[in-house]
């Protein structure tokens, strides 16, 4: 069931060392290459590139690879996007197909 994939990937909108902290810190938890996870990855990439434009930090974590993180972050539902910054911490469950809603939550802050 668990297929090894690449390690968690980072994507910085801003070049490292720029100084200013990105406005959005996001963590997406996925489960290998299952359907929902693939879709979620695709969707978040789209959202970040289109709407967050260099102002974000995205970490994609595969719970098969790093189950301890699943425990520490209390992951039950997959996929889930955790908005670490700006506060308050919000969780969005699902494959992020409802882009409107995602943007709504992101823009609210």
């Amino acid at each position: 069931m668990s297929k090894p994939i690449r390690q968690s990937r980072y994507k910085y909108g801003a070049a490292p060392g720029r100084g200013a902290k990105p406005e959005y810190i996001l963590r997406l938890f996925v489960s290998g290459l299952l359907e929902n996870s693939v879709r979620a990855i695709k969707n978040i990439n789209e959202i970040c590139e289109k709407h967050l434009k260099d102002n974000y930090e995205l970490e994609i974590i595969d719970i098969y690879q790093q189950p301890e993180l699943a425990i520490s972050e209390q992951i039950i539902v997959i996929p889930v996007l955790i908005i670490k910054h700006p506060l308050p911490e919000r969780r969005l469950i699902g494959d992020l197909s409802d882009i409107e809603k995602v943007l709504q939550i992101l823009n609210r802050n």
């Binding site: 699943a70 039950i76 494959d95 992020l96």
Partner: protein, 580 residues
């Protein structure tokens, strides 16, 4: 996976079960929970779901070598450890030994926002991770309801189905708890279709006392009892009362056991009670039932038999003191551990609780004789069918262990008339000793009667019994023209009778004397008459003799004269002749 069998051969694939280690539960399920399947425990708040599931894991680890995982959605690991301590579960130790793994899963419903399709893969990953940590064979999820808040029902239903299948494939026997009445529609669907086994727990309040009940709603692949079983939760965890309707085939002993009252033994075919039988001693208040019970216990303790005395009315010290006054010293037996007391006021606790507690003592102490004094106190509303079932089952259980039982009860023949279900208790017993009041002349005395004693030729007499400072004595029955007499009436009558006898004796003496005197008199008279008669006879004889003599003389005179005449005649003739 099970192999496909040829249609021609009939094979019975028996559903394997896993022992839970919960007292009484394995009996009512004939072996425990279905192996590799998921069981749902459903019940209202505080009914014992968490305790039951934790005991399932703890006993599994301690007694059956099966490590377990407890995934809690409700309490944190630390909270659980603290809470479960009061039920006798040392979870910390188990966790340390890697026999148990506890994890807390937090679902914060307020933070959940759905943005598309999802599943519970996170739960699966964590569960697998946890199972691998200890090599678990048993898993508990407490509770399912936590998942239902905020998540889509359709997805949940599918995921739960998937979860149960997944657990089965992994060879895990799982317990899942849920609250009754919550999200009923979904629940019904899951309970009906997805779960293999559903158990209902209930914690109801009847007459201010809480009563716990367990019921097996369904168990696929197994015949199970459908009734409700009472259970308790105490510092040893959960204990179920395994009521069965079958009459166990018990091997009965023919040994006898003395009642401690010599004359009562005589009434019981001369030998006493059967060992392992059930005895009821009943009578109205103050008739001496406890004294009879203690006489028996005293005797059995003397013979070094372990005894358990369950006192529901008086305290231990009260009983000991009261028994001293009739010459029965039971203190030394208590001190030596031969006699144990279970003493409790049953007012706010129910019968099941007591029976389960007593069973536990029996398992540990193994007494050969047990007294329940009085058993009627345990039945707050009088005997109804449920209570009767409990009692009957308890009596069966004791019989199965060959324990002699004595129950005392405030039942008399009069109370049975007004409360016919009282008779139900007496029907269960092998022997029924009735202590009666005999009231005459505004005085009450006690009589004892063996109303029934199965399997022996018992006396049907009602004997008066008195409680002296040397124990209980039975007096022989006293019959008078007015009927049976006891107590002072008897005494009076006895005295009266004695008096009468004395008088009678005297009378007889007198009569005898009279007769003697009469006889004497008569004798005298007869003597007198006799002597008179004799004298008369004498006289007559004399007279006769005289007469005879006279006659004789006359005769002789006559003959003389005749002779003389003849001589003369002849001489004259001679002379005449000469004269010619």
């Amino acid at each position: 996976m099970a192999q496909r069998n040829n249609k021609s051969t009939k094979t019975t694939i028996k559903l394997k079960k896993v022992l839970t280690g919960i007292r009484g539960f394995d009996e009512i399920t004939n072996g425990g929970l279905p192996k590799d399947r998921t069981t749902i425990i459903s019940g209202n708040t505080g009914c014992g779901k968490t305790v039951m599931s934790m005991e399932f894991l703890a006993k599994g680890a301690l007694e059956y070598g099966e490590p377990g995982v407890f995934l809690s959605f409700e309490e944190t690991g630390d909270e659980l450890i603290v809470n479960m301590e009061s039920f006798g579960f040392d979870l910390e130790n188990l966790i340390k030994k890697k026999k148990l793994y506890v994890e807390f899963l937090e679902i914060d419903k307020s933070q959940i926002i759905e943005t598309g399709n999802y599943n519970l893969e996170g739960l699966f990953v964590r569960l697998e991770n946890a199972i691998d940590k200890v090599g678990a064979k048993r898993v508990v999820l407490d509770s399912l309801d936590a998942l239902f808040g905020g998540l889509d029902y359709e997805i949940l239903r599918e995921e739960i189905k998937r979860l149960f299948k997944w657990l089965k494939q992994k060879g895990i026997t799982a317990l899942v708890t849920s609250e009754t009445g919550n999200k009923v529609i979904i629940r019904e669907s899951i309970e009906q279709h997805v779960a293999d086994c559903v158990i209902l727990l209930d914690n109801r309040v009847i007459n201010q006392t809480s009563s716990r009940r367990l019921r097996i709603l369904k168990m696929r692949g197994s015949v199970h009892g459908n009734n409700e079983y009472p259970f308790i939760i105490d510092r040893d965890g959960m204990s179920v009362l395994p009521l069965t309707s079958e009459l166990k085939n018990q091997s009965l002993s023919t040994h006898r056991i003395t009642s401690g009252i010599k004359d009562l033994d005589v009434m019981l075919d001369g030998k006493g009670f059967f060992r392992g039988s059930s005895i009821l001693v009943s009578g109205s208040a103050g008739t001496g039932k406890t004294s009879v019970a203690i006489s028996l216990i005293n005797e059995t303790c003397k013979q070094k038999m372990r005894g358990l005395y369950c006192a529901f009315e008086e305290s231990v010290s009260q009983i000991t003191r009261n028994m001293l006054s009739i010459g029965l010293k039971i203190d030394p037996f208590i001190n030596s551990g031969l006699l144990r007391f279970y003493s409790s006021r049953p007012s706010l606790e129910n019968l099941e609780l007591h029976l389960i507690s007593i069973r536990k003592i029996i398992d540990e102490f193994k007494p050969e004789i047990i007294v329940l004094d009085p058993v009627t106190n345990l039945m707050s509303e009088g005997i109804n069918s449920e209570v009767r079932l409990l009692l009957a089952h308890f009596v069966d259980f004791l019989k199965g262990r060959n324990i002699t039982t004595l129950f005392t009860a405030a039942i008399t023949l009069e109370t049975i008339k007004s409360n016919p279900s009282d008779e139900g208790i007496s029907a269960m017993m092998d022997a029924w000793i009735l202590v009666r009041d005999i009231e005459t002349n505004s005085e009450r005395n006690r009589g004892i009667n063996v109303l029934k004693s199965r399997g022996m030729n018992h006396s049907t007499q009602v004997r008066e019994f008195v409680i002296t400072d040397k124990g209980i004595n039975l007096l022989p029955i006293y019959l008078s023209p007015e009927g049976v007499l006891t107590g002072s009436a008897k005494l009076e009558h006895t005295l009266h009778k004695d008096e009468k006898i004395e008088l009678h004796k005297n009378k007889i003496k007198n009569e005898k004397g009279k007769i003697a005197r009469k006889r004497e008199l008569l004798q005298e008279k007869t003597d007198l008459l006799k002597s008179q008669l004799e004298s008369e006879i004498d006289e007559l004889n004399k007279a006769k003799a005289k007469y005879d003599l006279k006659e004789q003389k006359n005769e002789s005179n006559k003959t003389e004269i005749l002779n003389l005449r003849n001589r003369t005649k002849s001489s004259s003739e001679k002379s005449k002749g000469r004269n010619k």
